[in-house]
């Protein structure tokens, strides 16, 4: 079907700046074709950010893959779709409706589109994908899979993807399975040929090779976390499968199988335990941490809820452990396959009683790697749990990132651990004695010395020698010392990233909100609103966060949750006054957009001006 008779469409003219969205049925093999599409653009040197919008399901439900292409490097989501690949009959009406005026819809025209789906101001690109597949391929599975590859081939002609880049990617993908290469390339050619013959190619929406991704990598955050665990020296991983954290442990195990097998003996320098639940997962990590191994678990909101009691134990008995929270939408089961920053409060103060936990907030795969490796040092240095707060958006979607790097000669900082000789010289060992005045006591690994250095680890109240006590004053002393430890921790935590140019307004945010900030600032500048920014990288907050807020007339605190949790934390921890901060919130499960931020700031400025 072509555009409705008589309607003259003013199609979009855009180079390296548009949004392509694929509407598929999950389990139909579209994921690898769509990844091929995104990666080819990346290899053409054009910044690209793909977002999987997938169901909590194995087969048959709608799934989308949205690709933002932006030579300027805007990597957040943008509202509206310029080119829709409408492959799912269940959602096609809504998918067509989401296309902007002047945009395009590519669809499988083997079956005619019902008349009511026609829309003015949208250009339809009909390709009989099923028919082509049925003619060209014998096996039913191939007929299904290659539909996806054919539309990628058609897109190559339509928007000018470098065909050599595509064939290069196919060769890379099937290295070791070479016989799969020719049919895939054939499928690409089928699509390319059809599009070239039937449409004016390229469209006015097109790509042009650039040099904006030269040194970069395209990686998902969970892979980077897994690698960070390998490099950071983790030997024990215990976990319970939970979307969207599962791929953290998958990546750790995959790289360990490659990099952590003793060459002589074939033995493993790691252990991965799939626990019976999240309680056991964190318990195993804590047991290993107590005994001197670097250990971690990865989970998401529901797992955090289950781990609360153990986190309190690790806090109070001062055991290093690293926890990855790949946040998803809560409360309860919530939306398991959508993103949110909804666990800030439940992690900052996890467990009953007075507790506090160190949180790290990476915003790119490079930071996922760096913060993960550092998390193991920090946990050892401060002797407490460290929670790395990622989210589904960062964890499961491929992101453009600076390449990962490991400083040669970097050593692990195991913190204050006494060895045999140090114990030998010591007159008295008190596990919870603040010998250095920084709140951090010395610990030992079990079995270090024949008769010195052993102690009783417990979650019940204890004195400086780890002996049980019900003396309230001694209990309070220990609690005060632990509080002091968190002041010391600031010296070990990454400082916020501050970009200031003397503006009256500040934007304060963390994690994946970062992807929308540069674009939001540019949008605001167009409206004459200048902004400074502060990106929080860790909790507890550094004093520089407070002074940034004090230096600005108004600071917008951007939260991807309903209850403005980051703002609450600032108020609790830094005594920030309500009049200094204003909340911008987004909590529909999708990554926050620059439009949302700039619109919110402008609305609030207007209201203030009235």
């Amino acid at each position: 079907m072509n555009s409705p008779a008589g309607a003259k469409i003013e199609t979009l003219t855009k180079v390296n700046d548009f949004v392509v969205k694929f509407a598929n049925v999950n389990g139909s093999g579209s994921a690898s074709a769509n990844t091929l599409f995104a990666k080819s653009i990346f290899r053409m040197g054009i910044p690209v950010s793909p977002h999987n919008i997938f169901p909590s399901n194995i087969q048959g439900l709608p799934t989308w893959y949205e690709v933002r292409i932006s030579e300027k490097g805007y990597l957040g989501r943008r509202e509206g779709v310029d080119l829709m690949i409408a492959m799912n009959e269940q959602t096609i009406q809504k998918d067509i409706d989401s296309v902007v005026s002047g945009g395009y819809v590519l669809y499988d025209s083997t079956k005619a589109l019902p008349e009511q789906m026609a829309r003015e101001h949208v250009q339809f690109l009909p390709i009989p994908l099923t028919e082509i597949c049925n003619c060209e391929f014998e096996k039913p599975s191939q007929r299904q899979l290659f539909k996806n590859i054919i539309y990628v081939g058609a897109l190559a002609a339509l928007i000018n993807i470098d065909f050599d880049v595509l064939t290069g990617l196919i060769s890379d993908q099937f290295r070791g399975k070479e016989k799969l290469i020719p049919p895939n390339i054939h499928a690409l050619q089928l699509g390319y040929q059809f599009a070239s013959e039937h449409f004016q190619c390229p469209l006015r929406l097109k790509l042009k090779s650039a040099d904006k991704t030269d040194s970069k990598i395209l990686m998902d955050g969970n892979t980077a976390v897994g690698l960070g665990c390998v490099y950071g020296g983790a030997t024990v991983a215990s976990w319970y499968p939970l979307t969207p954290s599962t791929s953290v442990v998958d990546a750790f195990e995959r790289y360990c199988q490659r990099l952590r097998i003793d060459k002589q003996t074939g033995q493993q320098k790691f252990s991965v335990v799939q626990a019976e639940d999240e309680l056991a997962a964190i318990g195993i990590a804590i047991g290993a941490g107590w005994n001197g191994a670097r250990a971690f678990t990865a989970t998401s909101g529901p797992g955090i809820s289950l781990m609360q009691e153990f986190l309190g134990l690790a806090y109070f008995s001062e055991i290093p452990v690293v926890l990855f929270n790949i946040q998803r939408v809560g409360p309860s089961t919530g939306m398991p396959t959508r993103t949110q920053q909804g666990d800030l409060l439940s992690c900052a103060y996890a467990s009953h009683g007075d507790t506090k936990h160190i949180l790290l907030f990476p915003s790119t795969p490079k930071e996922c790697f760096d913060f993960t490796a550092s998390a193991f040092d920090i946990a050892d240095q401060i002797q407490t749990p460290v929670i790395v707060m990622s989210d589904l958006e960062l964890g499961m979607n491929e992101q453009i990132s600076e390449p990962l790097e490991w400083q040669e000669g970097r050593t692990y900082d195991r913190g204050k651990v006494l060895n045999h000789d140090q114990l030998e010289e010591l007159e008295h060992f008190g596990r919870y004695q603040d010998s250095d005045g920084d709140g951090i006591p010395y610990r030992t690994y079990p079995g270090t010395h024949p008769d010195k250095g052993s102690y009783f680890t417990r979650g019940s109240s204890h004195d400086a020698n780890a002996a049980y006590t019900e003396d309230g004053d001694i209990y309070a002393e220990v609690m005060d010392r632990i509080a002091k430890k968190f002041d010391t921790a600031l010296n070990y935590l990454p400082e916020p990233e501050i970009r200031e140019n003397g503006a009256a307004i500040g934007l304060l945010y963390l994690g994946t909100t970062t992807s929308a900030i540069a674009e939001a600032q540019d949008l605001l500048t167009k409206h004459g609103v200048a902004t400074d920014t502060l990106r929080v990288k860790s909790f507890p907050f550094h004093q520089s966060v407070r002074t940034f807020i004090d230096r600005h007339e108004k600071v917008y605190v951007i939260d991807q949750n309903r209850d403005a949790q980051l703002k609450s934390l600032l108020k609790i921890e830094l005594n920030v006054n309500e009049s200094q901060v204003q909340s911008i919130r987004s909590y529909n499960g999708m990554l926050i957009t620059a439009e949302h931020i700039s619109r919110s700031v402008l609305d609030s400025q207007e209201n203030a001006g009235e």
């Binding site: 690698l227 309680l279 804590i286 079990p446 079995g447």
Partner: protein, 351 residues
Amino acid sequence: MTYIRKPSFQHPQLETNELGLTRRDYEGTLTTLCGGCGHDSISAAIIQAAAEMSLEPNRIAKLSGIGCSSKIPSYFLGKAHAFNAVHGRMPSVATGANLANKELYYLGISGDGDSASIGLGQFCHIVRRRINMLYIVANNGTYGLTKGQLSATADLGSKTKSGEESLYDNIDLASLAIELGASFVARSFSGDKKQLVPLIQAGLSHKGFAFIDVVSPCVTFNNTDLSTHGYKNTWENNAALSQVDFVPMREEITTRYAEGEEKDITLHDGSVIHLHKIGNNYDPFHKEKAMMHINQHKAEGRIATGLLYINQKTSDLHDLTNTVDRPFNVLGEQELSPGNSTLMEINEAFR
């Protein structure tokens, strides 16, 4: 809690073991449990077992959960490292500790509330994972610290001091352990040190998951004539299937018993269990027979004790996952970090 300091004074001619240590070196702080508590006898049995075996106290990690049972690691092996975890979760902590350092002895102490109720899941899974440790449950059928509620190991019809009757079938942790793959399963009675001490020694020497269910009466809340976990019932109905002697690997085996009535079981470290069969010619090498005996005894209102099941040719989690010989906790960046050039190659795969 402990307000009386334990006197450090000791008899000058106290016997020493191979390490030159006396029994006192294996003791802990003064107990705070009720006078006559079965758990104190378990502590005493552990002290005797470890001292006789000449174990280095600092090579032992004691782990426990929450409850009266889980307090007892304070009362023995004061020079060992201890971890008093959260209620019912000692198994996961023990698993992690064991993964971090395979070279220590791991001794888990739990109770029936800790292992059969709140921690039943963790108990099942540590058995399945074959952690190399000795796991002792001090089983009194009641929640002592919260003043006498029935626990899940209380037998159907058993009554507590307050007259509360168990309306439900009990969970038998020994049967469960056998079912789930434990390779050493025993039951004993805190009052029968002669039986318990060698079982503890054998359990510590056994490689793989060793479990001892110790009936350990709660004198305060569950020691009535109507309680199946009280002293009276346990004494009267204790049916030892076998008697065990433990011979550490260093000692020469000197005693010999009449052919047919005893069997030597050699453990992985070379220690030997002398098993004297009693009465029914009990054979502890068959899972199904062990389960049958336990159930038969139960049906008769008796408690089958002794070494119920053993498979000394078994593997532990480290074997199953083929971990390196050196403990994880001594590996440093040299062994663990693959270096920057490898990372550069990895980056390439993401371009």
